[in-house]
Symmetry: C2
Subunit: 148 residues, 2 copies
C-alpha cells in the first residue's frame, strides 16, 4: 500500500460525501477538516479557528462554525458536549466513549467499552421514538491526579 495514496483516497471519500449532499467543498471547509486532522486532541471551534487562521488569516470564526456544522451534517466529523466546555469536535464518527478532565479540560478516548444495544435497550422502555443516546463521561486525568 502506497502511503502517497492515502490522502487521495480520503479526498475521494470526502468529495463523494460533499457531492451527494449538495454542499460544495470549498477551501475553507477543506482547511477546517485538515486542522481537525492535525490535532491529536478534541478541539473546540475556537481551537480549529486558531489553527486555520495560521495559514489563512482572513477566515472568520463564523465560517469555521458553519464549516464544522456542514462537516458534521454529512457525517465526516462528530461533536460532543460537556458542561463547562465549548463543543468538542472529532474526526472519529463511529460510536465511542470520550472522557473529559474536569481539571484541565483534556478530552481523550476510552477504548474497549461495549456500547452495543444502548439505544435499543432504552427504546424498549419508552413510548418516545429514541433518536439519540450518548454517554457523557467526566473524570480526572492521570496528570491532574498527580498534581494534586
Amino acid at each position: 500500500m502506497n502511503i502517497a495514496e492515502m490522502p487521495t483516497k480520503i479526498d475521494e471519500d470526502i468529495r463523494e460525501k460533499f457531492r451527494r449532499s449538495g454542499y460544495t467543498l470549498t477551501s475553507q471547509r477543506r482547511a477546517v477538516l485538515e486542522a481537525l486532522g492535525e490535532t491529536s486532541g478534541h478541539p473546540s471551534a475556537e481551537d480549529v479557528y486558531l489553527i486555520v487562521k495560521k495559514k489563512n488569516p482572513r477566515v472568520a470564526l463564523g465560517t469555521v462554525y458553519q464549516a464544522l456544522s456542514v462537516l458534521e451534517d454529512i457525517g465526516i466529523i462528530s461533536s460532543k458536549r460537556w458542561s463547562e466546555s465549548p463543543i468538542r469536535y472529532d474526526v472519529n464518527t463511529k460510536p465511542h466513549l470520550d472522557i473529559r478532565c474536569i481539571r484541565c479540560g483534556e478530552v481523550s478516548e476510552i477504548p474497549g467499552v461495549d456500547l452495543g444495544g444502548l439505544k435499543s435497550r432504552i427504546q424498549g422502555s419508552t413510548p418516545y421514538e429514541v433518536t439519540s443516546a450518548s454517554l457523557v463521561v467526566e473524570g480526572i486525568c492521570p496528570a491532574c491526579q498527580k498534581n494534586l
Copy 2:
C-alpha cells in the same frame, strides 16, 4: 400515616441538609424548592423563576440560579443538560434516565432501565478517575409523533 406529617418530615430532611452544609435556608430558597415540587415536568431556571415570581414578584432571576445551585450542591435536587435547551432541574436525585423531545422540548423520565455499574465499567477501561457518567437521551414524544 398522617398526611399532614409529610411536609414536616420533608422539612426536617431539608433543614438537616442545610444545617450540615453551612448554607442558610432562606425564604427564597424554600420558594424555589416548592416551585420545583409543584411542577410535574423538569423546569428550567426561567420556568422556576416565573413560578416563584407569582408569589414573590421581587425575586431576581439571579437569585433563582443561585438557589438552584445551592440546592443541587447539597443534594436536594439534580440537573441535566441537553443541547438546544437550558439546564433542566429535578427533585429526583437518584440516578435515572430522562428523555427530551427534540420537537416540543418536553422531558420525561424513563423508568425500568438498569444503569447499574455503568460508572465502574467505564472506570475499568481508563486511567482517568471517573467522577461522573450520565446518559443524554433524546427522542420524539408520542404527541409529536402523531402531529406529523
